[in-house]
């Protein structure tokens, strides 16, 4: 006999509201007139994000494993991560809504007559808003899911829209489409690995739920080889998403090719979702088996930091530089998993928010630096920007200093707390490497600052377009958060501390 599942709608509502917004958005695409679509879509997207956040605040103190049968955990970490995804997505949406970053008609072949006419007609692609909402809902579910099937579904829900969105750039469309294809192919492989790993874990434990796997490890019931294979393959899928070495090679290409607002969205929000899921899997399901995976994650973390920091040194493109910087940060973030203690979870939560804001801010600046043909991400042409527009260049420097972990920025507290957590758990090696890599990473952040402020501008240099109100909002929020969390981090650390728990 079939019994209908028991769902706790108030706890699922944050995700459902976003999904409803996405569906309404699809309807708008079909029925609304062309010129009405853009403002309507933006309104719907922002309203659903805000509504979802409000609902999340209302239920923030509820703790339940039964939100959707046994598949979604509503615990402190879920609330914090869903909340930070929503806040960052709000600002990412503002960036996405800023003019002229997206292709006029995605189906037109680059360089064709079709493309020219669609540009001349002033068409614009507004499907990006519902796509973003779908991705957000997937991210929120990914951070909360407690069984392998739900995790996989969420992974796909968040990934598929992103594959599409990466290909929507208005300029350099071939590069953008190439990036989308690469991202899709590699992403599909990594999903397959994830599924494969899940199958092995099921084979080992006879359960798909994270707690079931944890119990199986506790009683040591299955075949250890299955467990090891399962963990490793599951890790491949997850490490791909956060861009850890050796599964990072898509990151620079996709970051460079995708429209800049999408890159900012991916870099900030996907990282939270993917790391959130990873934290949950390792803390809840695999914590008893720490001796088996900690050495692997430690090595990967160190390599990721080093590769990210060193490869960034030779980059000539701002977006690629930021991509490698995000790889280095993935390495730092992995130390939060290695720590495997409450401080590690707290530090990771703080780190993700601090990093997310600085990232969105940095990409917002990238959208502003233009020449007649559009955005310019070639770093040689950013030379001397500090002279022409000191405020924008100054904000960019602030974000870079935060990435570098200079005191009195949010990035410093983030690094400090995550290294403290790793040290606390006795993993001093990773701390020492982290500290040394930070020095290397600082070099390339500083090199960019030197270019902006200490080098004379060239004649073919670029202009900084006057930011629209939306971009101003994004920049102001990122600057304020970066400074406030650097000077008085208790504001966020306190709530990170109280929310840093997983239900088992």
């Amino acid at each position: 006999m079939f019994t209908s599942p028991i769902l706790d709608y108030s706890l699922l509502a944050p995700i459902l509201i976003i999904l409803a917004g996405a569906l309404i958005g699809v309807g708008v695409e079909a029925f609304a007139r062309k010129e009405q679509r853009a403002p309507l879509q933006l309104g719907i997207a922002l309203v659903s994000v805000v509504a979802s956040f409000v609902q999340l605040l209302r239920v923030r103190n509820v703790r339940s494993l039964k939100a959707a049968i046994d598949s979604v955990a509503f615990d402190g970490a879920t609330v914090f991560m869903q909340g930070s995804i929503l806040v960052l997505a709000f600002f990412a949406l503002l960036l996405i809504a800023d003019r002229g970053n997206f292709v006029a008609q995605a189906s037109a072949i680059p360089g064709s007559q079709d493309e020219h006419s669609s540009i001349a007609e002033g068409k614009s692609q507004t499907e990006v808003f519902p796509l973003t909402l779908f991705a957000i809902s997937g991210m929120m579910l990914f951070a909360a899911a407690t069984d392998l099937i739900t995790l996989f579904v969420a992974l796909e829900v968040l990934s598929l829209p992103l594959y599409l969105m990466a290909g929507l750039s208005r300029r350099r469309r071939l590069l953008s489409q190439e990036a989308a294809l690469k991202y899709f192919l590699l992403g599909a492989y990594s999903s397959a690995f994830f599924l494969f790993g899940g199958a092995f874990l099921y084979g080992y434990s006879g359960s798909l739920s994270l707690t079931g796997i944890a119990t199986a490890i506790d009683v040591n019931s299955g075949n250890d080889v299955f467990l090891l294979i399962g963990i490793v393959f599951l890790m491949v899928g997850l490490l791909f998403k956060i861009g850890a070495v050796p599964f990072h090679s898509w990151t620079p290409d996709v970051y460079q090719g995708a429209p800049t607002p999408i890159t900012g969205f991916m870099a900030a929000c996907t990282k939270i979702a993917a790391l959130g899921a990873m934290l949950r899997i390792f803390y809840v399901a695999l914590s008893a088996d720490v001796v088996m995976w900690r050495p692997i994650v430690t090595v990967i973390s160190i390599i990721t930091m080093l590769v990210g920091a060193i490869a960034a040194l030779s980059q000539r493109d701002v977006k690629r530089t930021l991509a490698f910087s995000s790889i280095a940060h993935a390495g730092f973030l992995l130390t939060g998993i290695i720590a495997l203690n409450q401080s590690g979870l707290k530090a990771s939560l703080f780190y993700l928010v601090a990093y997310g804001f600085a990232t969105i801010g940095a990409f917002a600046v990238v959208t502003l630096v233009r020449d007649s043909a559009g955005e310019v991400s070639d770093m040689n042409r950013w030379v001397g920007l500090g002279k022409k527009s000191p405020l924008i260049a100054g904000a960019f420097c602030l974000f870079l200093l935060s990435f570098g972990g200079i005191p009195l920025t949010s990035g410093f507290i983030a690094k400090f707390s995550i290294f403290t957590a790793a040290y606390e758990s006795g993993n001093t090696t990773v701390v020492v490497f982290g500290v040394l890599t930070s020095a290397i990473a600082l070099f390339f952040y500083l090199r960019v600052i030197v270019m902006l402020f200490f080098t004379e501008p060239k004649s073919d240099a670029v202009t900084v377009s006057v930011p629209s109100l939306k971009v101003k909002l994004v920049l102001a929020a990122s600057v304020i958060v970066t400074i406030v969390l650097g000077v008085y981090p208790s504001l966020l650390l306190n709530s990170a501390q109280s929310f840093a728990s997983f239900l088992r």
Binding site: K346, P407, F412, S417, F453, F454, Y488, S490
Partner: protein
Amino acid sequence: MSLVTVLELTPLISAVLLYAIPKGNTKLIKQAAIALSVVALGISGLIAYRFDTNATGMQFVESHNWISNFGIKYAVGIDGLALVLILLTTILTPIVLLAGWNEAEGGRWSVRTFYVLMLILESSMIAVFAATDVFLFYVIFEAMLIPVYLLIGGYGRGERAAAAMKFLLYSLLGGLLMLAAVIGIYIISTNQIGGTFETAKLATLHIDSLTENCLFLGFFIAFAIKAPLWPFHTWLPGAAKSATPATSVLLLGVLDKVGTYGMIRFCITLFPHATKTFTPLIIVLSIISILYGAFLAIGQRDINGLIAFTSISHFGFIVLGIFSMTSQGLSGATLYMVNHGFSTAALFLVAGWMVARRNSSQIEDFGGLQRITPVMAWSFFIAGMSALALPGISSFVSEFLVLVGTFTRYPVAAIFGTTGIVLAALYVLITVQRSLHGPAAPGNEGISDLNLREKIAIAPVIALLVIMGFFPKPVLDWINPSSTATMQAAGYSDPLPKAGK
């Protein structure tokens, strides 16, 4: 609110106030900046007046929770050691602002920005000496690099961007090693007494010797880069050659003292056993610094490079005095920090005026200035005499104390150190002879002597050099109790004199 906090905030508020003056009115900006820095000097004078020389421990203490999740506090307080360094800061700042009247012109940014950066730097230097919370110290230690970096890179000369970058990278690398050590000691405190960063509590921890040695090195390397001690000194000559005189004075005269200050405050106090282990090595490094700096100074043709290398030599003396582990040595080293600050200030300021007038920094280009510009030449001469520690000038007292203190424990090191004095005579006298005496070098005929503003700026420095040479007692009264306390905390007592052996 403690007076120390007021003093920290004064230059910061002054910097904000400068923004009330229109950007174009550079004269008013300069006057306001100097006047406001004199206010800070007045407050520090008040602190010195109220300072109780008989009390042990920290005074003017203030403590608030800052980041409670990690037990981090805004905690300040000063003892004699911190007091003299804070006084050094507040005395030198108005002097360099007055002396460097024209330095900000021709920089990359506005004149106002220069003075704002200078005042921020002053504030952070006061704060770094007053901090009694290791985390607070670390944050300021790192954050103060940014104004210096901008001052060198934005207002310096020659290869300024590269020199500024080198300075920043070296300092940040040292700082990051220190961060690892700071985290380490915090975790140990969490396990033993509940997480804290208060220096006094951290000194009571029991740390196993391997960990203690590692943590000691983390702190020490950061301070050795800052100090700068051979072989971590390579950033200094470039920075000194590129920075403007005012920046150089604050950089070498005060900022670098954070390194030697940190060795006393953190390395010795927090890690007494590791200090014992590493003392022989550090003594050797400091002797190498003394001799290496002196030899390279002899060979310098650039006057700013000369001052930089003499400083490396002098920092060798300071470190030698600190790690001699005698109260004379430690007091001498502390006094040396102050004297070196004033002596370097005099050298850099006069050299800066010479360079600006002659438009060259080559020593041989200054020939014959003694007859053409007697006041400037005499000022340089006295500054030079303070660098070679002539009796009657303040440096002599401190150098003597350092060598006496070292001799009672490490006679061989003291003997090597003494040769540093002979070499100092060489590099100073050769420079004086080449630059001031002899026939006038071509192009020097029309050089004007110091004007009234410059005379007013240099006079207090020279007066202090001479007065403290004859009457160092008031300063030593501040310093001695804290030196004794440091020695006791590290578990050392002065060796008895072995007469007739």
